[in-house]
């Protein structure tokens, strides 16, 4: 059996963004970062990055301030839980839709 044919018969994920599709559509709570409270945001310098470290999906960037890729963020809330300054708030997606 050729590898090309075989790969159509099994579930095989390679490393890379979004092999499970645009998983951001799973999200019901959106993490929103307040740059006034966030340590790198407040200092305007690379620091902390606890959210980047803990994010299980690798969708938070090590930038000033950190950015979140909402195409793939599933809204698990680990970043908000771990943020030492409580700079991340989980906001209902439905409330954002109404805006």
């Amino acid at each position: 059996m050729k590898q090309r044919d075989y790969r159509k018969k099994i579930s095989l994920s390679e490393t890379g963004p979004g092999d499970a599709g645009k998983t951001g559509s799973w999200r019901i709570l959106r993490p929103v970062i307040d740059p006034q409270v966030c340590i790198p945001g407040r200092r305007n310098a690379p620091a902390c990055y606890i959210c980047w470290l803990y994010c299980p999906d690798g969708v938070i960037s090590r930038t000033v301030p950190p950015g979140i890729d909402y195409q793939y963020c599933k809204g698990c809330g680990i970043c908000a839980e771990e943020c030492p300054t409580k700079a991340i708030t989980m906001v209902e997606e439905s409330s954002l839709l109404k805006e």
């Binding site: 590898q3 075989y6 790969r7 979004g18 092999d19």
Partner: protein, 402 residues
């Protein structure tokens, strides 16, 4: 080379000749001597393979799944509750499309605890997506193990080779051990179409969406349902593939026959008994006696049970007046699974209801209850008449209530 050995040794020799590279198994009666023999072969250096001792059957099959995913030819064996303990991984191996081979040395299932032979263990794994082959004697065990690797690797579906505990596993019989050189010709080293590669990592069989999805390259990757549909489709394609394997086997080793069924005195038979495994050979004695009494009886064993060669089986049975299915297992609350499958095949492939043979179902030998020739003869005598098929309830042989 002709030798006289047990069925378990026949299976172990088949695995050795097939040059399996990884073996993981947990001992359970009556499979134990098979895996002990394999570990002896490896320990003595006669066989180049990794033997992975494990703490359970679930782990045994998990090891084989991992080894096969890494591209190794892998084998395990078990019986009864050990097989049931693997159940989750049995489905997994089929969905992952890994060409494993497993011997199931058939034994009854607890409760109540039993160590004796029936077919409930492998029959209850019928719907897992594994190919199931039933062997009738020692020659068929060793040959089936070798053919099973060839078939599994052609269609990328795992195969169970099932044979009767004790009746075959622990009895000595003469059989031919194929020459190593010829087995190498028939079964070249396994070249996996895909295997795990640390330089190009991948995640296999993780959560798969209900719908199809674009993969990292932007190609459409199959969803769960596509993967399962292809397993079914390829199972059906394994029917002609088995014939091709059998033909190749015949051309290399000079022996072989119908890979699906084994009919005996069925050509002109009015009544045909059907069974899986060694029971079909026991029934040959009964058929001979009935023939001497002027009853045109025959017996047919089913070698390939999944995928079910329904059209061929219906054709083999359509000319007779009655089919008598003897089973050492059943689907509780209905009837024997083989009986249901045969009825379904006849319904699909024969004409008007009046033109179909009747089908009766006998349940016998559960948990090793002795199956005697006079009992089989009585059952056949009462079924082999124009009204022998009246009543649709399963008939039980050998029950003793005081």
């Amino acid at each position: 080379m002709q030798i006289i050995e047990t069925g378990n040794v026949a299976a172990a020799l088949g695995v050795k000749l097939a040059r399996a590279q990884v073996i993981a198994a947990y001992p359970i009666t009556p499979q134990t001597p098979l895996t002990e023999k394999l570990s002896e072969f490896i320990e003595s250096g006669e066989m180049q393979a990794e033997y992975v001792p494990v703490e359970s059957e679930h782990s045994a099959l998990a090891v084989c799944i991992a080894a096969s995913s890494a591209g190794a030819r892998s084998f395990t064996a078990t019986s009864a509750n050990g097989l049931l303990y693997m159940h989750e991984q049995i489905h997994w191996a089929a969905g992952a499309r890994l060409p494993l081979v497993m011997c199931v040395v058939n034994r009854g299932v607890g409760a109540p605890w039993t160590i004796w032979n029936d077919h409930q263990d492998s029959i209850s794994q019928r719907d897992t997506g594994w190919i199931q082959i039933y062997a009738n004697d020692h020659q068929q065990i060793i040959d089936s193990v070798i053919k099973a690797f060839a078939l599994a690797e052609e269609v990328m579906i795992p195969v169970m080779v099932c044979y009767d505990g004790y009746i075959l596993s622990h009895t000595h019989m003469p059989f031919d051990v194929p020459e190593e050189r010829l087995v190498d010709e028939f079964l070249p080293p396994y070249l996996p179409p895909y295997s795990l590669d640390p330089a190009d990592p991948a995640n296999l069989n993780t959560v798969t969406m209900p719908d199809v999805r674009p993969d990292v390259r932007g190609d459409t990757a199959p969803g769960y349902m596509e993967i399962r549909y292809l397993l079914h489709k390829d199972m059906l394609e394994a029917i002609p593939a088995f014939e091709r394997v059998e033909e190749r086997f015949r051309s290399v080793f000079g022996r072989g026959s119908n890979p699906y069924i084994e009919p005996y005195r069925c050509e002109d038979a009015d009544y045909i008994a059907v069974a899986l495994g060694s029971l079909s050979y026991h029934l040959r004695d009964v058929v001979d006696t009935l023939r001497n009494e002027g009853v045109r009886a025959g017996v047919m064993s089913v070698h390939l049970y999944r995928p079910f060669p329904d059209e061929l089986i219906a054709r083999a049975l359509s000319g007779c007046s009655g089919v008598v299915v003897f089973e050492k297992a059943l689907s509780y609350g209905y009837q024997g699974a083989l009986c249901s499958d045969i009825k379904s095949a006849l319904y699909r492939h024969t004409g008007e209801p009046g033109g179909r043979p009747f089908v009766v179902n006998y349940i016998l030998g559960l948990g090793g209850r002795e199956i005697t020739t006079p009992d089989l003869l009585d059952a056949m005598r009462s079924s082999c008449s124009p009204d022998g098929g009246s009543g649709d309830e399963t008939r039980w042989i050998g029950l003793r209530f005081s």
